[in-house]
């Protein structure tokens, strides 16, 4: 298991501002290894712990990241265009399309943190018993040179033991 999940969004800020949408101007990847089988493809007799977990939808808005309870998640953002600025303003979680209240959040301690290389967002997957295993969608609100834009599609963290 990877101790921390790093999720990087790269935004074509000029493209998004000129089209008014992030749809073709946002690429999200995480640090799960490439060329591995998703959990659904794992052989029933295989040990879950011994399997390499991967993500799907890499380099798209609809990234699905497989996580475990307690795992730390870090979100960073960068601009494709050097002269433009983009920051994460907010991350909102949903369950079956409904916004999740703070009490039921799948990601505790979620907030903005600082690092020598710049600010990032981080949180930890909630404890067993606090949240059910399964898929939790989220949307990211960015500030693109001062203009707020929210992802149109859901990204997902898929929680399992």
């Amino acid at each position: 298991m990877i101790p921390q999940i790093n999720i990087l969004s790269v935004v074509d800020v000029i493209g998004a501002l000129s089209t008014g949408t992030l749809r073709h101007s946002l690429f999200i990847v995480d640090n799960h290894p490439a060329n591995c089988k998703p959990p659904s493809d794992v052989h029933p007799l295989g040990s879950r712990q011994s399997q390499t977990i991967c993500s799907s939808g890499q380099a798209s808005q609809s990234l699905i990241t497989h996580v475990t309870y307690g795992q730390v998640l870090n979100w960073q953002v960068a601009s494709i265009d050097l002269q433009t600025e983009v920051v994460i303003k907010k991350i909102t979680f949903f369950r079956n399309g409904e916004e999740i209240t703070a009490a039921d959040t799948p990601c505790v301690l979620l907030g903005r943190y600082g690092a020598p290389s710049g600010e990032y967002w981080a949180g930890a997957v909630n404890k067993p018993g606090k949240i059910e295993p399964g898929d939790y969608q989220y949307k990211i609100e960015f500030s693109l040179t001062g203009k707020s834009m929210i992802t149109e599609e859901f990204s997902v963290i898929s929680v399992s033991n």
């Binding site: 790093n6 990087l8 990847v29 640090n31 290894p33 380099a59 960073q76 690092a115 290389s117 990032y120």
Partner: protein
Amino acid sequence: MTDTLELLALSKTVHTATTPKPVSIVGMVNATRALADGTLLGNICWVDNNAAGGSRFLGTDHLVSAIEAGASVTWLAEPLEVETFVEILEITGPAVELTSAAEKSFYDGAWKYWEGQVPSSAKGEYTYSLSLNICGRAMVLPTNLTLSVTGKGGKRI
């Protein structure tokens, strides 16, 4: 030879309505895993800002960037991890002379990126590779990237 030497000559272009769209290319690097694996294979993917102009294989390690003749192009590498360091060391490939004129630049005194300009006479596809500094360790891309140079207005030459 002259064309290729010109291809990535450093240029600070003032963009007007008639200048071709500048293309920015960003590599997203899983630095920690690249160090652990000893290779960038499976640990880097590339995107650019010209999918609408015909760029292909965005999000893969073999990006083909569509770019108009005369356009400027920049390259930047970004680590996925917060506390790791990645920068482009060199641009190399079959057309070494093509890339040797590209130059390392700085933005805001912090970000190191590479910048060049495609000459107006360029046409066709130019493959290239990059070497990266991953937290002090030099690594070369396992696959080639491509600049697919079209005529102005996106017309394929």
